[in-house]
Protein backbone atom coordinates (compact mmCIF):
# COMPACT_ATOMS: atom_id res chain seq x y z
CA UNK A 1 0.00 0.00 0.00
CA UNK A 2 1.50 3.34 -0.94
CA UNK A 3 1.52 6.16 1.55
CA UNK A 4 -1.02 8.25 -0.34
CA UNK A 5 -3.58 5.49 -0.50
CA UNK A 6 -3.31 4.60 3.17
CA UNK A 7 -3.65 8.26 4.10
CA UNK A 8 -7.04 8.39 2.42
CA UNK A 9 -8.17 4.84 3.18
CA UNK A 10 -7.42 4.98 6.87
CA UNK A 11 -9.82 7.77 7.90
CA UNK A 12 -12.52 6.42 5.61
CA UNK A 13 -12.28 2.93 7.09
CA UNK A 14 -12.24 4.29 10.63
CA UNK A 15 -15.26 6.48 9.95
CA UNK A 16 -17.06 3.48 8.46
CA UNK A 17 -16.35 1.33 11.52
CA UNK A 18 -17.53 4.08 13.87
CA UNK A 19 -20.65 4.61 11.77
CA UNK A 20 -21.54 0.91 11.79
CA UNK A 21 -20.90 0.70 15.53
CA UNK A 22 -23.28 3.53 16.26
CA UNK A 23 -25.91 3.02 13.55
CA UNK A 24 -28.21 0.54 15.30
CA UNK A 25 -28.25 2.57 18.48
CA UNK A 26 -28.85 5.71 16.47
CA UNK A 27 -31.80 3.99 14.82
CA UNK A 28 -33.32 3.01 18.15
CA UNK A 29 -32.83 6.58 19.38
CA UNK A 30 -34.52 7.97 16.26
CA UNK A 31 -37.37 5.54 16.77
CA UNK A 32 -37.75 6.54 20.40
CA UNK A 33 -38.34 10.21 19.52
CA UNK A 34 -40.91 9.50 16.82
CA UNK A 35 -44.55 10.38 17.26
CA UNK A 36 -47.33 7.83 17.33
CA UNK A 37 -48.14 8.43 13.65
CA UNK A 38 -44.50 8.68 12.64
CA UNK A 39 -43.61 5.25 13.88
CA UNK A 40 -46.11 3.35 11.74
CA UNK A 41 -45.17 4.96 8.46
CA UNK A 42 -44.10 2.58 5.71
CA UNK A 43 -41.39 3.03 4.53
CA UNK A 44 -39.97 4.24 7.84
CA UNK A 45 -39.08 7.92 8.22
CA UNK A 46 -35.44 8.62 8.73
CA UNK A 47 -35.97 11.99 10.30
CA UNK A 48 -38.18 11.78 13.38
CA UNK A 49 -40.55 14.42 14.68
CA UNK A 50 -38.71 14.62 18.02
CA UNK A 51 -41.73 13.82 20.11
CA UNK A 52 -41.39 12.66 23.70
CA UNK A 53 -44.65 10.72 23.49
CA UNK A 54 -43.05 7.27 23.83
CA UNK A 55 -40.90 8.30 26.78
CA UNK A 56 -44.02 9.50 28.55
CA UNK A 57 -45.82 6.29 27.65
CA UNK A 58 -42.88 4.12 28.78
CA UNK A 59 -42.90 5.92 32.12
CA UNK A 60 -46.66 6.02 32.66
CA UNK A 61 -47.96 2.86 30.97
CA UNK A 62 -44.96 0.59 31.36
CA UNK A 63 -43.64 1.80 34.67
CA UNK A 64 -40.10 2.05 33.39
CA UNK A 65 -38.75 3.77 36.52
CA UNK A 66 -39.75 0.77 38.53
CA UNK A 67 -37.50 -1.51 36.45
CA UNK A 68 -34.80 1.14 36.59
CA UNK A 69 -34.94 1.13 40.38
CA UNK A 70 -34.64 -2.68 40.53
CA UNK A 71 -31.71 -2.62 38.10
CA UNK A 72 -29.93 0.03 40.15
CA UNK A 73 -30.41 -1.84 43.44
CA UNK A 74 -29.24 -5.16 42.03
CA UNK A 75 -26.30 -3.80 40.02
CA UNK A 76 -25.04 -1.48 42.77
CA UNK A 77 -25.25 -4.10 45.54
CA UNK A 78 -23.62 -6.73 43.35
CA UNK A 79 -20.79 -4.35 42.53
CA UNK A 80 -20.29 -3.46 46.18
CA UNK A 81 -20.10 -7.06 47.43
CA UNK A 82 -18.04 -8.33 44.50
CA UNK A 83 -15.48 -5.57 44.83
CA UNK A 84 -14.93 -6.11 48.55
CA UNK A 85 -14.47 -9.84 48.07
CA UNK A 86 -12.27 -9.27 45.01
CA UNK A 87 -9.95 -6.91 46.88
CA UNK A 88 -9.54 -9.48 49.67
CA UNK A 89 -9.01 -12.36 47.27
CA UNK A 90 -6.80 -10.41 44.89
CA UNK A 91 -4.56 -9.36 47.75
CA UNK A 92 -4.37 -12.89 49.11
CA UNK A 93 -3.59 -14.39 45.71
CA UNK A 94 -1.02 -11.78 44.83
CA UNK A 95 0.92 -11.69 48.09
CA UNK A 96 0.62 -14.80 50.18
CA UNK A 97 2.56 -17.25 48.03
CA UNK A 98 -0.23 -19.78 48.49
CA UNK A 99 0.79 -23.00 46.86
CA UNK A 100 -2.37 -23.54 44.83
CA UNK A 101 -3.05 -20.02 43.74
CA UNK A 102 -2.88 -20.87 40.04
CA UNK A 103 -5.45 -23.59 40.61
CA UNK A 104 -7.73 -21.04 42.25
CA UNK A 105 -7.23 -18.51 39.47
CA UNK A 106 -7.76 -21.21 36.87
CA UNK A 107 -10.99 -22.47 38.41
CA UNK A 108 -12.28 -18.90 38.63
CA UNK A 109 -11.56 -18.52 34.95
CA UNK A 110 -13.52 -21.69 34.25
CA UNK A 111 -16.47 -20.43 36.31
CA UNK A 112 -16.57 -17.28 34.24
CA UNK A 113 -16.73 -19.29 31.03
CA UNK A 114 -19.46 -21.86 31.63
CA UNK A 115 -22.74 -21.29 29.87
CA UNK A 116 -25.28 -20.34 32.52
CA UNK A 117 -27.57 -23.23 31.61
CA UNK A 118 -25.09 -25.69 33.13
CA UNK A 119 -25.85 -24.28 36.59
CA UNK A 120 -29.32 -22.77 36.08
CA UNK A 121 -31.51 -25.63 37.36
CA UNK A 122 -29.71 -26.19 40.69
CA UNK A 123 -29.28 -22.45 41.33
CA UNK A 124 -33.01 -22.07 40.83
CA UNK A 125 -33.66 -24.94 43.26
CA UNK A 126 -31.38 -23.47 45.92
CA UNK A 127 -33.19 -20.14 45.69
CA UNK A 128 -36.57 -21.88 45.59
CA UNK A 129 -35.80 -23.77 48.80
CA UNK A 130 -34.62 -20.60 50.49
CA UNK A 131 -37.79 -18.87 49.20
CA UNK A 132 -35.53 -16.30 47.60
CA UNK A 133 -37.02 -16.35 44.11
CA UNK A 134 -38.34 -12.87 43.38
CA UNK A 135 -36.14 -11.21 45.97
CA UNK A 136 -33.18 -8.91 45.47
CA UNK A 137 -30.77 -11.17 47.34
CA UNK A 138 -31.91 -14.09 45.19
CA UNK A 139 -30.50 -12.37 42.11
CA UNK A 140 -27.56 -10.63 43.78
CA UNK A 141 -25.97 -13.82 45.14
CA UNK A 142 -25.64 -15.54 41.73
CA UNK A 143 -24.46 -12.24 40.22
CA UNK A 144 -21.73 -11.92 42.83
CA UNK A 145 -20.60 -15.45 41.99
CA UNK A 146 -20.57 -14.77 38.26
CA UNK A 147 -18.71 -11.46 38.55
CA UNK A 148 -16.15 -12.58 41.13
CA UNK A 149 -13.81 -14.15 38.52
CA UNK A 150 -13.55 -10.86 36.65
CA UNK A 151 -13.06 -8.86 39.86
CA UNK A 152 -10.50 -11.21 41.34
CA UNK A 153 -8.47 -11.36 38.13
CA UNK A 154 -8.36 -7.59 37.81
CA UNK A 155 -7.45 -7.06 41.47
CA UNK A 156 -4.81 -9.82 41.47
CA UNK A 157 -3.02 -8.37 38.47
CA UNK A 158 -3.35 -4.90 39.99
CA UNK A 159 -1.75 -5.93 43.29
CA UNK A 160 0.97 -7.74 41.37
CA UNK A 161 2.09 -4.41 39.97
CA UNK A 162 2.24 -2.65 43.35
CA UNK A 163 5.73 -2.85 44.88
CA UNK A 164 5.99 -5.15 47.87
CA UNK A 165 8.35 -2.85 49.77
CA UNK A 166 5.46 -0.79 51.10
CA UNK A 167 3.87 -3.62 53.04
CA UNK A 168 7.22 -5.04 54.10
CA UNK A 169 7.97 -1.67 55.70
CA UNK A 170 4.57 -1.64 57.36
CA UNK A 171 5.01 -5.16 58.70
CA UNK A 172 8.46 -4.27 60.03
CA UNK A 173 6.94 -1.24 61.72
CA UNK A 174 4.71 -3.65 63.60
CA UNK A 175 1.49 -3.35 61.61
CA UNK A 176 -0.55 -6.56 61.66
CA UNK A 177 -1.60 -8.21 58.40
CA UNK A 178 -5.04 -6.74 58.71
CA UNK A 179 -3.76 -3.24 59.42
CA UNK A 180 -1.43 -3.43 56.43
CA UNK A 181 -4.28 -4.48 54.19
CA UNK A 182 -6.72 -1.81 55.31
CA UNK A 183 -4.37 1.11 55.94
CA UNK A 184 -1.93 0.69 53.09
CA UNK A 185 -3.04 -1.68 50.37
CA UNK A 186 -6.72 -0.84 50.04
CA UNK A 187 -6.16 2.92 49.68
CA UNK A 188 -3.48 2.20 47.08
CA UNK A 189 -5.74 -0.13 45.14
CA UNK A 190 -8.34 2.55 44.36
CA UNK A 191 -7.63 2.70 40.60
CA UNK A 192 -7.91 -1.08 40.27
CA UNK A 193 -11.07 -1.10 42.34
CA UNK A 194 -12.56 1.54 40.13
CA UNK A 195 -11.80 -0.37 36.93
CA UNK A 196 -13.21 -3.61 38.33
CA UNK A 197 -16.29 -1.80 39.65
CA UNK A 198 -17.13 -0.36 36.23
CA UNK A 199 -16.93 -3.76 34.55
CA UNK A 200 -18.88 -5.57 37.28
CA UNK A 201 -21.57 -2.91 37.24
CA UNK A 202 -21.96 -3.16 33.47
CA UNK A 203 -22.23 -6.94 33.72
CA UNK A 204 -24.90 -6.83 36.44
CA UNK A 205 -26.79 -4.06 34.67
CA UNK A 206 -26.95 -6.03 31.42
CA UNK A 207 -27.47 -9.60 32.64
CA UNK A 208 -30.65 -11.22 31.39
CA UNK A 209 -30.63 -15.00 31.73
CA UNK A 210 -30.70 -15.33 35.53
CA UNK A 211 -32.84 -12.23 35.92
CA UNK A 212 -35.42 -13.92 33.70
CA UNK A 213 -35.42 -17.15 35.73
CA UNK A 214 -35.32 -15.65 39.17
CA UNK A 215 -37.50 -12.56 38.81
CA UNK A 216 -40.79 -13.92 37.52
CA UNK A 217 -42.90 -11.25 39.20
CA UNK A 218 -42.95 -7.85 37.56
CA UNK A 219 -42.39 -6.17 40.92
CA UNK A 220 -38.76 -7.32 41.04
CA UNK A 221 -37.81 -7.45 37.37
CA UNK A 222 -34.77 -5.57 36.11
CA UNK A 223 -34.63 -3.41 32.99
CA UNK A 224 -33.41 -6.09 30.57
CA UNK A 225 -36.25 -8.41 31.59
CA UNK A 226 -38.74 -5.59 31.28
CA UNK A 227 -37.47 -4.62 27.84
CA UNK A 228 -37.48 -8.23 26.62
CA UNK A 229 -41.03 -8.88 27.82
CA UNK A 230 -42.74 -5.58 26.90
CA UNK A 231 -46.04 -6.45 25.27
CA UNK A 232 -48.69 -4.23 23.81
CA UNK A 233 -52.34 -5.21 23.75
CA UNK A 234 -52.41 -5.90 20.01
CA UNK A 235 -49.05 -4.94 18.61
CA UNK A 236 -45.41 -4.85 19.64
CA UNK A 237 -44.89 -1.49 21.37
CA UNK A 238 -41.78 -0.51 19.37
CA UNK A 239 -41.87 3.09 20.52
CA UNK A 240 -41.91 2.24 24.19
CA UNK A 241 -39.31 -0.50 23.73
CA UNK A 242 -37.05 2.02 22.00
CA UNK A 243 -37.55 4.63 24.71
CA UNK A 244 -36.84 2.10 27.46
CA UNK A 245 -33.79 0.86 25.53
CA UNK A 246 -32.40 4.38 25.33
CA UNK A 247 -33.00 4.84 29.07
CA UNK A 248 -31.21 1.55 29.82
CA UNK A 249 -28.31 2.36 27.53
CA UNK A 250 -27.57 6.03 28.17
CA UNK A 251 -25.87 5.45 31.56
CA UNK A 252 -23.60 2.88 29.88
CA UNK A 253 -22.79 5.20 26.98
CA UNK A 254 -21.78 7.89 29.45
CA UNK A 255 -19.66 5.43 31.44
CA UNK A 256 -17.94 4.23 28.26
CA UNK A 257 -17.13 7.72 27.01
CA UNK A 258 -15.72 8.85 30.36
CA UNK A 259 -13.88 5.68 31.38
CA UNK A 260 -12.89 4.25 28.00
CA UNK A 261 -9.23 3.87 29.03
CA UNK A 262 -10.00 2.06 32.27
CA UNK A 263 -12.42 -0.30 30.58
CA UNK A 264 -9.88 -1.24 27.94
CA UNK A 265 -7.12 -1.82 30.49
CA UNK A 266 -9.50 -3.77 32.72
CA UNK A 267 -10.70 -6.07 29.98
CA UNK A 268 -7.20 -7.07 29.05
CA UNK A 269 -5.95 -7.21 32.64
CA UNK A 270 -4.14 -10.37 33.52
CA UNK A 271 -4.99 -11.96 30.21
CA UNK A 272 -2.14 -10.59 28.16
CA UNK A 273 1.12 -9.40 29.57
CA UNK A 274 3.79 -9.74 26.91
Amino acid sequence: MSKGVSKVAFPILTAWVVFLSLLPFLWIFITSVKSEIDITSIPPNIIPSFSLYFYKSAILNYNIFHYLKNSLIVAATTTFITIILSVFSGYALSRSGLRHKNVILGSLLLVSMFPQISIAGPVWRILYNLEWLNTYQGLILPYVTLTLPLGVWIMTSFFNELPEELEKAALVDGCSNIQTLFKIMIPLSAPGVFTAAILVFIYAWNEFFFALLIMTQREYQTLPVGIALFQGQYTIPWGEISAASVIATVPLVIIVFIFQKRIISGLSAGAIKG
Binding site: P24, F25, P115, I119, N206, A228, S245
Partner: protein, 299 residues
Protein backbone atom coordinates in the same frame (compact mmCIF):
# COMPACT_ATOMS: atom_id res chain seq x y z
CA UNK B 1 11.17 -15.50 58.23
CA UNK B 2 10.03 -17.66 61.11
CA UNK B 3 7.54 -20.43 60.51
CA UNK B 4 4.70 -19.28 62.69
CA UNK B 5 4.87 -15.90 60.98
CA UNK B 6 4.62 -17.57 57.57
CA UNK B 7 1.83 -19.80 58.76
CA UNK B 8 -0.06 -16.84 60.10
CA UNK B 9 0.29 -15.19 56.69
CA UNK B 10 -1.16 -18.27 55.00
CA UNK B 11 -4.08 -18.46 57.39
CA UNK B 12 -4.72 -14.77 56.84
CA UNK B 13 -4.69 -15.33 53.06
CA UNK B 14 -7.12 -18.24 53.30
CA UNK B 15 -9.44 -16.19 55.50
CA UNK B 16 -9.46 -13.46 52.88
CA UNK B 17 -10.19 -16.00 50.15
CA UNK B 18 -12.85 -17.89 52.07
CA UNK B 19 -15.93 -15.85 51.04
CA UNK B 20 -14.96 -16.04 47.36
CA UNK B 21 -14.39 -19.78 47.58
CA UNK B 22 -17.71 -20.30 49.36
CA UNK B 23 -19.62 -18.28 46.77
CA UNK B 24 -18.04 -20.16 43.89
CA UNK B 25 -18.62 -23.55 45.52
CA UNK B 26 -22.26 -22.92 46.41
CA UNK B 27 -23.38 -21.16 43.25
CA UNK B 28 -21.08 -22.66 40.61
CA UNK B 29 -19.38 -25.96 41.49
CA UNK B 30 -22.21 -27.49 43.50
CA UNK B 31 -24.77 -26.64 40.77
CA UNK B 32 -22.61 -28.25 38.10
CA UNK B 33 -22.40 -31.48 40.10
CA UNK B 34 -26.06 -31.23 41.04
CA UNK B 35 -27.09 -30.85 37.37
CA UNK B 36 -25.50 -34.22 36.74
CA UNK B 37 -27.37 -35.73 39.69
CA UNK B 38 -30.68 -34.22 38.57
CA UNK B 39 -30.19 -35.51 35.04
CA UNK B 40 -30.49 -39.07 36.39
CA UNK B 41 -33.91 -38.38 37.87
CA UNK B 42 -37.42 -37.62 36.74
CA UNK B 43 -38.32 -34.27 38.28
CA UNK B 44 -41.13 -32.02 37.14
CA UNK B 45 -41.25 -28.54 38.62
CA UNK B 46 -45.02 -28.13 38.59
CA UNK B 47 -45.64 -31.56 40.14
CA UNK B 48 -43.66 -31.74 43.39
CA UNK B 49 -45.81 -34.65 44.62
CA UNK B 50 -44.12 -36.84 41.99
CA UNK B 51 -40.91 -36.42 43.92
CA UNK B 52 -37.69 -37.25 42.16
CA UNK B 53 -37.47 -40.80 40.95
CA UNK B 54 -34.10 -42.23 39.97
CA UNK B 55 -34.31 -43.38 36.37
CA UNK B 56 -30.69 -44.01 35.48
CA UNK B 57 -29.76 -42.97 31.97
CA UNK B 58 -33.35 -42.76 30.65
CA UNK B 59 -33.06 -38.99 30.17
CA UNK B 60 -29.86 -39.39 28.21
CA UNK B 61 -31.49 -41.99 25.97
CA UNK B 62 -34.31 -39.55 25.34
CA UNK B 63 -31.83 -36.78 24.64
CA UNK B 64 -30.01 -38.93 22.13
CA UNK B 65 -33.25 -39.48 20.21
CA UNK B 66 -34.45 -35.90 20.55
CA UNK B 67 -34.39 -34.41 17.04
CA UNK B 68 -34.79 -30.86 18.31
CA UNK B 69 -31.88 -31.28 20.73
CA UNK B 70 -29.72 -32.48 17.85
CA UNK B 71 -30.79 -29.49 15.80
CA UNK B 72 -30.04 -27.16 18.72
CA UNK B 73 -26.58 -28.71 19.12
CA UNK B 74 -25.87 -28.31 15.42
CA UNK B 75 -27.16 -24.73 15.42
CA UNK B 76 -25.06 -23.88 18.46
CA UNK B 77 -21.88 -25.30 16.92
CA UNK B 78 -22.53 -23.49 13.64
CA UNK B 79 -23.29 -20.28 15.49
CA UNK B 80 -20.12 -20.56 17.60
CA UNK B 81 -17.94 -21.35 14.62
CA UNK B 82 -19.26 -18.67 12.28
CA UNK B 83 -19.55 -15.83 14.79
CA UNK B 84 -16.13 -16.50 16.30
CA UNK B 85 -14.54 -16.55 12.88
CA UNK B 86 -15.98 -13.19 11.86
CA UNK B 87 -15.45 -11.62 15.27
CA UNK B 88 -11.75 -12.46 15.26
CA UNK B 89 -11.42 -11.29 11.65
CA UNK B 90 -13.20 -7.97 12.23
CA UNK B 91 -11.63 -7.66 15.67
CA UNK B 92 -8.17 -7.88 14.13
CA UNK B 93 -9.03 -5.28 11.49
CA UNK B 94 -10.49 -2.89 14.06
CA UNK B 95 -7.56 -3.39 16.41
CA UNK B 96 -5.07 -2.51 13.67
CA UNK B 97 -7.17 0.52 12.79
CA UNK B 98 -7.36 1.92 16.31
CA UNK B 99 -3.79 1.04 17.24
CA UNK B 100 -2.46 3.97 15.20
CA UNK B 101 -1.91 7.25 16.94
CA UNK B 102 -4.20 9.98 15.74
CA UNK B 103 -6.21 12.87 17.07
CA UNK B 104 -9.48 11.89 18.71
CA UNK B 105 -8.43 8.28 19.11
CA UNK B 106 -10.05 8.12 22.56
CA UNK B 107 -13.38 9.23 21.15
CA UNK B 108 -13.22 6.65 18.36
CA UNK B 109 -12.27 3.85 20.74
CA UNK B 110 -15.18 4.80 22.95
CA UNK B 111 -17.66 4.69 20.06
CA UNK B 112 -16.36 1.28 19.02
CA UNK B 113 -16.94 0.11 22.60
CA UNK B 114 -20.61 1.09 22.49
CA UNK B 115 -21.85 -2.18 20.95
CA UNK B 116 -20.03 -4.13 23.66
CA UNK B 117 -21.52 -1.99 26.46
CA UNK B 118 -25.14 -2.04 25.29
CA UNK B 119 -27.27 -4.63 27.14
CA UNK B 120 -27.69 -7.64 24.85
CA UNK B 121 -31.44 -7.49 25.33
CA UNK B 122 -31.43 -3.94 24.02
CA UNK B 123 -29.26 -4.78 21.03
CA UNK B 124 -31.49 -7.79 20.33
CA UNK B 125 -34.60 -5.61 20.30
CA UNK B 126 -32.70 -3.18 18.08
CA UNK B 127 -31.88 -5.83 15.52
CA UNK B 128 -35.35 -7.33 15.75
CA UNK B 129 -36.75 -3.92 14.87
CA UNK B 130 -34.17 -3.37 12.13
CA UNK B 131 -35.26 -6.65 10.49
CA UNK B 132 -38.95 -5.88 10.97
CA UNK B 133 -41.08 -6.52 7.89
CA UNK B 134 -42.85 -3.15 7.86
CA UNK B 135 -40.87 -0.55 9.76
CA UNK B 136 -37.41 -2.07 9.55
CA UNK B 137 -34.30 -0.18 8.52
CA UNK B 138 -32.92 -3.23 6.71
CA UNK B 139 -35.79 -3.36 4.24
CA UNK B 140 -35.46 0.37 3.67
CA UNK B 141 -31.74 0.05 2.96
CA UNK B 142 -32.23 -2.85 0.54
CA UNK B 143 -35.50 -2.09 -1.21
CA UNK B 144 -35.72 1.67 -0.70
CA UNK B 145 -39.22 3.01 -0.41
CA UNK B 146 -40.68 0.24 -2.57
CA UNK B 147 -42.48 -1.44 0.31
CA UNK B 148 -44.06 -4.20 -1.84
CA UNK B 149 -40.80 -6.13 -1.65
CA UNK B 150 -40.34 -5.76 2.09
CA UNK B 151 -39.52 -9.09 3.70
CA UNK B 152 -40.14 -10.50 7.16
CA UNK B 153 -36.52 -11.54 7.56
CA UNK B 154 -36.89 -13.19 10.94
CA UNK B 155 -39.73 -15.37 9.67
CA UNK B 156 -37.49 -17.26 7.25
CA UNK B 157 -35.24 -19.96 8.74
CA UNK B 158 -32.03 -19.15 6.90
CA UNK B 159 -32.35 -15.38 7.19
CA UNK B 160 -33.27 -15.61 10.85
CA UNK B 161 -30.12 -17.60 11.52
CA UNK B 162 -28.02 -15.10 9.57
CA UNK B 163 -29.71 -12.28 11.47
CA UNK B 164 -28.72 -13.56 14.91
CA UNK B 165 -25.18 -14.08 13.61
CA UNK B 166 -25.05 -10.51 12.34
CA UNK B 167 -26.36 -9.18 15.63
CA UNK B 168 -23.76 -11.12 17.59
CA UNK B 169 -20.86 -10.20 15.34
CA UNK B 170 -21.89 -6.56 15.55
CA UNK B 171 -22.02 -6.67 19.32
CA UNK B 172 -18.83 -8.49 20.16
CA UNK B 173 -16.27 -7.75 17.44
CA UNK B 174 -15.21 -4.74 19.49
CA UNK B 175 -14.47 -6.95 22.49
CA UNK B 176 -12.27 -9.16 20.34
CA UNK B 177 -10.64 -6.02 18.99
CA UNK B 178 -9.72 -4.86 22.49
CA UNK B 179 -8.07 -8.13 23.43
CA UNK B 180 -6.13 -8.14 20.16
CA UNK B 181 -5.23 -4.48 20.62
CA UNK B 182 -3.58 -5.32 23.94
CA UNK B 183 -1.38 -7.76 22.03
CA UNK B 184 -0.57 -5.22 19.31
CA UNK B 185 0.53 -2.62 21.79
CA UNK B 186 3.39 -4.67 23.17
CA UNK B 187 5.05 -5.02 19.75
CA UNK B 188 8.05 -2.66 19.77
CA UNK B 189 7.95 0.03 17.09
CA UNK B 190 11.64 -0.67 16.24
CA UNK B 191 10.73 -4.00 14.66
CA UNK B 192 8.66 -2.24 12.02
CA UNK B 193 11.29 0.43 11.49
CA UNK B 194 13.95 -2.22 10.95
CA UNK B 195 11.67 -4.07 8.53
CA UNK B 196 11.04 -0.86 6.60
CA UNK B 197 14.77 -0.24 6.33
CA UNK B 198 15.13 -3.73 4.91
CA UNK B 199 12.45 -2.85 2.36
CA UNK B 200 9.72 -5.20 3.60
CA UNK B 201 6.26 -4.46 2.23
CA UNK B 202 3.31 -3.68 4.52
CA UNK B 203 1.88 -7.13 3.86
CA UNK B 204 5.22 -8.78 4.67
CA UNK B 205 5.45 -6.78 7.90
CA UNK B 206 1.96 -7.95 8.79
CA UNK B 207 2.57 -11.65 8.15
CA UNK B 208 6.15 -11.79 9.47
CA UNK B 209 5.97 -9.47 12.47
CA UNK B 210 2.41 -8.68 13.51
CA UNK B 211 0.73 -12.06 13.15
CA UNK B 212 3.33 -14.22 14.93
CA UNK B 213 3.65 -11.74 17.79
CA UNK B 214 -0.07 -11.38 18.43
CA UNK B 215 -0.71 -15.13 18.24
CA UNK B 216 -1.23 -15.44 22.02
CA UNK B 217 -3.60 -12.47 22.02
CA UNK B 218 -5.50 -13.99 19.10
CA UNK B 219 -5.80 -17.31 20.92
CA UNK B 220 -7.07 -15.64 24.07
CA UNK B 221 -9.63 -13.66 22.08
CA UNK B 222 -10.62 -16.91 20.37
CA UNK B 223 -11.02 -18.68 23.71
CA UNK B 224 -13.16 -15.95 25.26
CA UNK B 225 -15.30 -15.51 22.17
CA UNK B 226 -15.84 -19.25 21.70
CA UNK B 227 -16.95 -19.73 25.29
CA UNK B 228 -19.17 -16.68 25.16
CA UNK B 229 -20.79 -17.72 21.89
CA UNK B 230 -21.89 -20.99 23.52
CA UNK B 231 -23.89 -18.88 25.93
CA UNK B 232 -26.02 -17.29 23.22
CA UNK B 233 -29.48 -16.85 24.70
CA UNK B 234 -30.64 -13.23 24.89
CA UNK B 235 -30.48 -12.78 21.11
CA UNK B 236 -32.52 -15.89 20.45
CA UNK B 237 -35.01 -15.23 23.22
CA UNK B 238 -35.76 -11.72 22.00
CA UNK B 239 -35.35 -11.99 18.24
CA UNK B 240 -36.75 -15.39 17.30
CA UNK B 241 -37.74 -17.51 20.33
CA UNK B 242 -35.78 -20.27 18.63
CA UNK B 243 -37.93 -20.19 15.52
CA UNK B 244 -38.96 -20.32 12.79
CA UNK B 245 -39.17 -24.12 12.91
CA UNK B 246 -36.27 -24.34 15.39
CA UNK B 247 -33.94 -22.77 12.83
CA UNK B 248 -32.37 -20.62 15.55
CA UNK B 249 -32.89 -22.93 18.50
CA UNK B 250 -29.64 -23.21 20.46
CA UNK B 251 -28.67 -25.36 23.44
CA UNK B 252 -28.92 -22.70 26.12
CA UNK B 253 -32.36 -21.68 24.87
CA UNK B 254 -33.57 -25.25 24.50
CA UNK B 255 -32.37 -26.13 28.00
CA UNK B 256 -34.09 -23.06 29.39
CA UNK B 257 -37.33 -24.02 27.66
CA UNK B 258 -37.24 -27.61 28.88
CA UNK B 259 -36.44 -26.73 32.49
CA UNK B 260 -38.33 -23.53 33.07
CA UNK B 261 -41.09 -23.35 30.48
CA UNK B 262 -41.98 -27.06 30.46
CA UNK B 263 -40.79 -27.75 34.01
CA UNK B 264 -38.77 -30.83 33.04
CA UNK B 265 -35.99 -30.33 35.58
CA UNK B 266 -34.57 -33.84 35.12
CA UNK B 267 -34.59 -33.98 31.33
CA UNK B 268 -33.50 -30.35 31.00
CA UNK B 269 -30.52 -31.10 33.22
CA UNK B 270 -29.16 -33.52 30.62
CA UNK B 271 -28.88 -30.51 28.32
CA UNK B 272 -27.06 -28.63 31.10
CA UNK B 273 -24.64 -31.54 31.41
CA UNK B 274 -24.17 -31.78 27.65
CA UNK B 275 -23.40 -28.06 27.40
CA UNK B 276 -21.00 -28.32 30.32
CA UNK B 277 -19.13 -31.28 28.86
CA UNK B 278 -18.81 -29.68 25.42
CA UNK B 279 -17.59 -26.31 26.71
CA UNK B 280 -15.33 -27.85 29.34
CA UNK B 281 -13.52 -29.96 26.77
CA UNK B 282 -13.12 -27.04 24.42
CA UNK B 283 -11.79 -24.77 27.16
CA UNK B 284 -9.33 -27.44 28.32
CA UNK B 285 -8.11 -27.75 24.76
CA UNK B 286 -7.51 -24.00 24.49
CA UNK B 287 -5.91 -23.74 27.91
CA UNK B 288 -3.44 -26.47 27.01
CA UNK B 289 -2.75 -24.68 23.76
CA UNK B 290 -2.12 -21.42 25.57
CA UNK B 291 -0.22 -23.05 28.39
CA UNK B 292 1.12 -20.80 31.08
CA UNK B 293 0.66 -17.62 29.10
CA UNK B 294 -2.83 -17.24 30.51
CA UNK B 295 -1.70 -16.95 34.10
CA UNK B 296 1.64 -15.33 33.49
CA UNK B 297 0.18 -11.87 34.06
CA UNK B 298 -0.90 -12.86 37.53
CA UNK B 299 1.94 -15.01 38.74
Amino acid sequence: MNISFRLRGQIFALTLLAPTIIFVCVFAFYPIANSFYLSLHRIIIGLPELGSRFIGLENYKALFNDIIARKALLNTLLFVFITTFFEILFGLAIAILINKRFKGRGLIRASILIPWAIPTVVSSQMWRFIFNDKYGLFNLLIYGSNSDHYKAWLAEPLYAFIAIIMADVWKTSSFAALLILAGLQVIPEELYLAAKVDGASTWKQFTKITLPLIRPALLIALLFRTMDAFRVFDLVFVMTQGGPADATNVLQFYGYKKIFAEGLMGYGSTISVLVFVVTFSISLFYIRLLGRRLTRGTS
